[in-house]
Symmetry: C2
Amino acid sequence: MTDQPLLSNARSDRVKQVAALGRRAARDRQRRFLVEGPQAVRELLGYAAPAAEVLYVTESGAERHTELVDAARDAGVPARACTEQVLAAMAGTEHPQGVLAVARHVDVPLADALDAVGERGFAVVLTHVRDPGNAGTVLRGADAFGASAVLVSSASVDVYNPKVVRSTVGSIFHLPVSTGTPVPELLSACRARGIRLLAADGSGTTLLPDVDLAGPHAWVLGNEAWGLEPGVRDACDEVVAIPIQRAESLNLAMAATVCLHASGSTRRR
Amino acid sequence: MTDQPLLSNARSDRVKQVAALGRRAARDRQRRFLVEGPQAVRELLGYAAPAAEVLYVTESGAERHTELVDAARDAGVPARACTEQVLAAMAGTEHPQGVLAVARHVDVPLADALDAVGERGFAVVLTHVRDPGNAGTVLRGADAFGASAVLVSSASVDVYNPKVVRSTVGSIFHLPVSTGTPVPELLSACRARGIRLLAADGSGTTLLPDVDLAGPHAWVLGNEAWGLEPGVRDACDEVVAIPIQRAESLNLAMAATVCLHASGSTRRR
């Protein structure tokens, strides 16, 4: 911890500027976002420390998570002590558990994300995913099952939304994430690199076990309520359904989990 | 629709009695629960009509969902017209979309659920699942991938919680669900029937692709925050981990989805 004074004024300009990161307009303008809670901060410092700008900790947060204060110091990230009231005023979600960081955006250029897919990798494309929890779960699944990149279109939820960041549990720092490209350009760019586009859609005529997942491919996900846009579905190389017995359909996060697991399993063999 | 008068008094005893079903104590006492929204009501009337006691619909709900009013009539379930205010006062969740039913509990005796597993089936055991959305997703996955039964311990969330019912999207009516048995008895009962107990746990030493899923088995799920109780893990035949690359762990719903999908795939082959 630095010797700077305890931040105790919950209405200071600094607090307002951090709290503003709960809103997309401020995140886009500042190119910064909130990283809340010990687990997300740990992954930030472990995997993307150069993006970390400052760590805010309460007294009890610092006591419970001395390793985070140490990691910040080792990474040259200033740590500032603040009151519970200040941390609560800064936080975009309810329980930052005494620890909150401000970080610069960590997304990479689309070309870099596509480079990461290469000849053998796989990616996931979020075309119109709007629910923060779903986007976070998809990022987490991509990370868990070894995807090479996550491509988030400009029509999907902002990945720097505090709810997305929280629900990724750090995965957002583990693999290349590209953001802000319109859906058609995203699909064209994949195609130009020879990345096979697989639409995940219950209406698909190809069943998941019959798909060749050996080459570079990307799972293309639609909207949680209305699915894939017809134009997007038509632009994909295959429309793939997961064989199911009875339920009307799986939700988006479940379908993405199964598809990403299948791709990951192919690579483990 | 019946010729009975429009229910318009949001403070009537009837409305209070229905609204009370948002609370567990009243559900347990009355052995009834709320089924909210057109999709859940459709599945209730299609798969478990004998459990349906009454359908409440607003004018606009009846116009948008004439098929539900017809289905209720065909099943001998009385339909009562009510105002938006009355329906909102009855509902346990925010948007019943003009349609709400009251149903008797649909769970089956544990022995019946185990009979359904038989020689070839598989089940899922919720030991300490507390989040309604997770429980609903597990039920949905069990349904989608062809599980024979869902066994919910007395230490898990109440499956008749309106949030669980909503998030199952009707799956709760599609397959045998047993509730209310303490965890140790649940595990013993499975074992006595020759149902192999597979703990789903990131700490497992057996990897999912290496597990023999041909015979009768049950996936045993723990708590979303602290996982499986050590005693439960020890009581299982195998502790199974899903191979993952990078993320610290999958969340409970993701892990359950992958495990149930694996069991379902084995049976499709």
